[in-house]
Subunit: 414 residues, 2 copies
Amino acid sequence: MLDPKRTIAELKELRALTADEHGAQRVAWTDTWLRAREWFAQKLSSLPVEHHLDAAGNRWVTLPGDSEKALVLGSHLDSVPNGGWLDGALGVMAGLEVMRRFAEQYGGRPPVTIRLVDFADEEGARFGRSLLGSSAVAGTDSIAADRVRKDKDGILLENALRRCGVEIDRFPEAQQERRNMAAYLELHIEQGPVLESLDLPLGVVLGTKGVERHAITFHGQEAHSGSTPMHQRHDALAAAAKLALEIRNIAGAHPDAVCTIGSVKTFPGIVTAVVGRCETTLDQRDLSAEVLARMWCEAKLAAERFAAEEKCSVEWSRIWSIEPLPFHPELVELCAKAVSETCGTAHRLPSGPLHDAAEIVRGGIPVVMMFVQSLRGISHNKIEDTREDHLELAVAALDRLADSTVEWILRNSQ
Amino acid sequence: MLDPKRTIAELKELRALTADEHGAQRVAWTDTWLRAREWFAQKLSSLPVEHHLDAAGNRWVTLPGDSEKALVLGSHLDSVPNGGWLDGALGVMAGLEVMRRFAEQYGGRPPVTIRLVDFADEEGARFGRSLLGSSAVAGTDSIAADRVRKDKDGILLENALRRCGVEIDRFPEAQQERRNMAAYLELHIEQGPVLESLDLPLGVVLGTKGVERHAITFHGQEAHSGSTPMHQRHDALAAAAKLALEIRNIAGAHPDAVCTIGSVKTFPGIVTAVVGRCETTLDQRDLSAEVLARMWCEAKLAAERFAAEEKCSVEWSRIWSIEPLPFHPELVELCAKAVSETCGTAHRLPSGPLHDAAEIVRGGIPVVMMFVQSLRGISHNKIEDTREDHLELAVAALDRLADSTVEWILRNSQ
């Protein structure tokens, strides 16, 4: 029988094992992370399952079923430094509980194969490369660029992986794990304030938003703050300030879109000088590729306009981008039904943060995610938390969704 | 006979002696500065003058006259690192040329005493304390706070001064130099673009603007840029951006006022986070104390309003302030006459930057300054420059002003 309270108890056990007074320390490819994974492997000993690490260091647990078609549940045990107790770990431990229920209910042989995956290095906290393990599974890895990444101590990514028994050149072999993967489900904390503001425990995730991330630099003219009349200035900060306000209008035209200027740097950056150069970063996200493209275009035009108004120039350079990755429409409906049956209301929302689920979409697998409320919307912080009754509802809803997804897989196999 | 070309030649001589490929290096209390001062002392050998260093390291050159009442000309030989060839040095060398003319014209005994001063450490480039020497003369020094200042190598100000023969505890003795000081005249480069934009070589300075300098910090809520809807943000950058634009309206209501946000720092300052804290600096200047007070009040109210609009809070802390220091109205008229007779038009303007002249005003002495055009308004930079014909006009106009000021002193002494 499903025991959501056990999931909470196990998450607390994991916290006691891998957190210090600053929060979770399960950074991928570190000893604390290895300890967490060893602890997890021990949890599997009483189950009729096979488990192994794939070529990218992802752990796969398999409960064979009558059909080779597999329902996969998963998330990641790794955390950021000083992280929370639920980010990632909730999805893995809730998946384990659902797998236990399948094993028990079907006498060890469910109608389809049930698999559980703990992806390696979702956070990218140490080497700045997130979704590392899941991208290997999806076949969207970037080995040449990633092998030479260094951590803050100068250790190469490829050497850190080798220490954990993973050879980066063998990453493509991890794609084998996609064979027979019929659906992927992931439960995760929201990491935002939407469900809390709606007073809902659970949400149905429509997909992960596409991201356009750019560095924007305004060039004006450094000048003495005392001797330069206002109308003779070329104030790079003024142009940047106009953009910082205008991006709110640009995002505001679309219900779920967000635009953020997260960093502003001023040069020379002293109290007695008009800003000659202002470096900013822009992050834009939406679930619609068309909206994303329009917002980027609008920001570019606005920046040009503000630069001209302030007698400055502006240059853009793309930091990173990813396309929107909508989840499978039929699985979204199944998730909505499971959430609705569990807590009455199925609110649908996109995910701003990326997740391993996004890479699995790119790998061509039907995917859906479920969110559980985050208190104060805070994550990547030791104060990250979720009410325990919400956690219990989340495990129960994931279990419901797993059942209906098994039926969906069987229907599709006929 | 006055020889303005000699002044230019001497300034070039000084440049050759004390500049490198990055500009002037006459930073106060350094060997290069001492070399500049030694060079200057040698220039005095053929004149019938007494000269000495006062207790604060200012050099005073005295050409005794029939009256003990003294006309003082002056400026400073010290520069910022990588500075220009004219900032400060022009006023000292032009003053020397005028002194030579007085000595020659009156056979060594002019009607009033003529003095020339090279103030020590106007720039404050090494220890962050500008107007050091002139404040000692004015009696507005701040010995306790200044003695413990350190340069970037950790050397104490009081030790750097001692190495040059100056004991900071004896600073108050420098006030003796104010005895019989009837007027102080200073020629300086504008360091701004106003005269160039008016196509005028010279300007009459009305006084130095008062300055209000504040650190303003907006506190919002750091949040994930992907998962936090626009309307649920507490974006500290947005509040700061509004203020950066509003200060232009605040300054714009007054013809000569300036307001500048020169530094913006964002925290955590990463591309994926809404800005939780934004630290800015505000510098406001005007020649009217009333306008300055009103602008500060308006900025404070605006910051409060923007903080509230963005669901943030704001805190202010004063970095520094100084009151406006208007020059002597009769000397301003004499300066206008001299400028007008030299180049046809006498444009009056306040000085945004501070000068030693401001401290001498605080010391209760009648003061006026004259500006000569700065090409592109640029100073504190090796490309600082002024047309040579403008430099010649400036020396000639200062000489005219010195003559009329001597008459004014004699009239006042009767």
